[in-house]
Amino acid sequence: MTLNLSAHEMDVVERLADEKGLSKTALLRQALRLYQSISARLENGEKVFVEHPTTKEKAELMVLS
């Protein structure tokens, strides 16, 4: 499989791979796991939130599945 990414997308992949200490392949595998995991929860009718560390304000995470 060939993955076609824009220069900007490729920059993001490289930056995240560097931050996480992963190769680009490992990063994309990790991204796929997270995407599948969140999609499965949303398909089950669950809601996925991110919480602000101090205000505890919650924002619903929207993923198009």
């Binding site: 931050e19 996480k20 200490g21 992963l22 190769s23 490992a26 595998r29 990790q30 796929l32 796991r33 997270l34 599948q36 995991s37 499965a40």
Partner: protein, 208 residues
């Protein structure tokens, strides 16, 4: 389908001899059948005995090493079969399942030196009831927990997570993770359980 990862030696405390054990990735039908047919009856027998003496609280279940007896391994295997984030392991010896473990690979570290780096998070880990102190008079195999923890570290290395792992400990296992395994105790979190993490250096020390 399970892949055979290797064979290892476990000490049988009852005979003093070493017995060959096989480590499998992933949990197969025969492993959950062993849980249902061989582990669960021992748990239920002990629970019935304890209930005759009074209420079976979480504290009493912990004292008798029964805290995880309600875990539904078969249902978990069904639910997680297609999830890319999940991996599972089983240990067999003497043709019986001696240990089971589920881990997830979509978690991130909290320990300050490795915060937000990916880790292998141990979701469930259990040894067969006949290997447990306080549950049986003479526990059989030693080393199941260590072997499964090493499997989680090995997976972490394979996934480029450098051996980093994390877990929430049942109260009776806290000192083992902290004092024997050398994991960092990050305190009780929102789950009400104590959370531990192993750094790359701690993982190297554990497996060496």
């Amino acid at each position: 389908m399970s892949d055979r990862l290797g064979t290892y030696l476990l000490k049988d405390r009852r005979t003093g001899k070493e017995v060959e054990a096989t480590l499998w990735q992933s949990i197969d039908d025969r492993h959950v059948e062993d849980f249902a047919q061989k582990w669960k009856p021992i748990f239920e027998t002990r629970k019935t005995e304890l209930l005759k003496r009074g209420a079976l609280t979480a504290e009493i279940a912990g004292e008798h090493n029964l805290q995880d007896s309600h875990w539904e391994w078969m249902r978990k295997v069904e639910q997680r079969r297609d999830g890319l984030a999940w991996a599972s392991f089983a240990v067999e010896a003497e043709d019986v399942t001696q240990g089971l473990m589920f881990v997830r690979m979509d978690a991130f570290a909290r320990e300050p030196s490795q915060r937000n780096k990916p880790i292998v998070d141990i979701d469930l880990v259990a040894t067969a009831p006949w290997n447990r102190f306080r549950l049986v008079a003479e526990p059989q195999f030693k080393g199941i927990g260590r072997l499964l923890l090493a499997a989680a570290i090995s997976l972490s290395v394979h996934e480029e997570f450098n051996g980093r792992i994390g877990l929430h400990a049942l109260p009776q296992a806290e000192s083992w993770y902290r004092d024997v395994c050398g994991m960092t105790d990050l305190g009780i979190d929102g789950t009400g359980m104590r959370y531990f993490e192993m750094t790359e250096a701690q993982a190297k020390a554990f497996v060496s």
